[in-house]
């Protein structure tokens, strides 16, 4: 599977994400600088990593969402290429209009950095095929702006269409309806605040994140 990890000034989970993709798929992703205008031909996965792109200036993800490579990503997403945004990547995808809603400052204003329990809500997507619906998994979160917000009509719509991929099993950051990760309307774009790439091998203490990449390998290949 040919893949790319997009790198912005201030990205800091790009290498962890690349290692996770390489370990699971057997192919190292291309590290693609945000100033590029084209994606590799035949790309099977675009991964937008966590970090603090552009120092979170203006709003988290706002500047990165207007970078040159994003035009190619929006176009590829429209063709059905899977796009995975983790943490700052989720913020960037909402700012780019690929996902609904917005991620605001955490309720309580604390930077939350710990393992959290999540319920897998949708096990039918490209990203969640290796999980069971209703299953509880544990992934680390590390964010200041993970408080998912959307108007009630949008929330009802994404819930009704099965587009909530992961939900916090506990209160974490004030997110509307405890939403931790959502899919776009065609199911090929996933944004999530927790970090699956940080728990993929035994040495990490948990491996709950590994199946996300395994599912991608099976469904995208």
């Amino acid at each position: 599977m040919k893949s790319a990890v997009i790198v912005f000034p201030g990205s800091n989970c790009d290498r962890d994400l690349a290692v996770a993709i390489r370990d699971v798929t057997g192919h190292a992703p291309e590290m693609l600088w945000h100033g590029e205008s084209e994606l590799p031909d035949g790309i099977g996965l675009i991964a937008v990593p966590g970090g603090f792109s552009y120092g979170d200036y203006l709003r988290s993800g706002a500047m990165a969402a207007r970078s040159r490579i994003m035009r190619a990503i929006v176009e590829a997403a429209g063709r059905g290429v899977p796009v995975l945004g983790i943490c700052n990547g989720f913020q960037i995808l909402t700012e780019a209009g690929l996902l609904p809603g917005a991620l605001m400052r955490n309720e309580g204003l604390n930077f939350v950095c710990r393992d959290v329990a999540l319920t897998v809500e949708n096990s039918q997507s490209t990203f969640t095929a290796r999980y069971d619906a209703g299953e509880t998994i544990h992934l680390p979160v590390a964010h200041h702006d993970g408080n998912f917000t959307a108007d009630s009509g949008t929330l009802d719509r994404i819930e009704g269409e099965g587009r909530v991929a992961f939900r916090y099993a506990e209160a974490v950051n004030g997110s509307a309806r405890n939403i931790a990760g959502i899919l776009n309307d065609s199911g090929n774009v996933l944004g999530m605040m927790p970090h699956p790439e940080r728990v993929i091998e035994a040495a990490h203490g948990k491996t709950d994140g590994r199946r996300l990449f395994e599912g991608l390998l099976e469904t995208v290949a």
């Binding site: 203006l58 709003r59 706002a62 700012e95 917005a102 400052r105 309580g108 408080n147 917000t149 004030g174």
Partner: protein, 76 residues
Amino acid sequence: MKTRVYVTLKGGVLDPQGKAIHHALGSLGFSGVNDVRAGKLIELDHDEGVSDTDIEAMCKKLLANTVIENFRIERS
């Protein structure tokens, strides 16, 4: 020429920062404040030829996230 853009959270959107500021004012002994909402002020220094329409487009495309924010343009 200068234009000020005020970016504020929409009415229904909870404002964690505003709430924290409100709480801090209370703990400093200031009473009578019923609510606090925090926003942004962005000052643009620009050519005469930049129109209202241009600035509105800037707001919609970058300066404000219209999912959660409103903006108000004040030209001087």
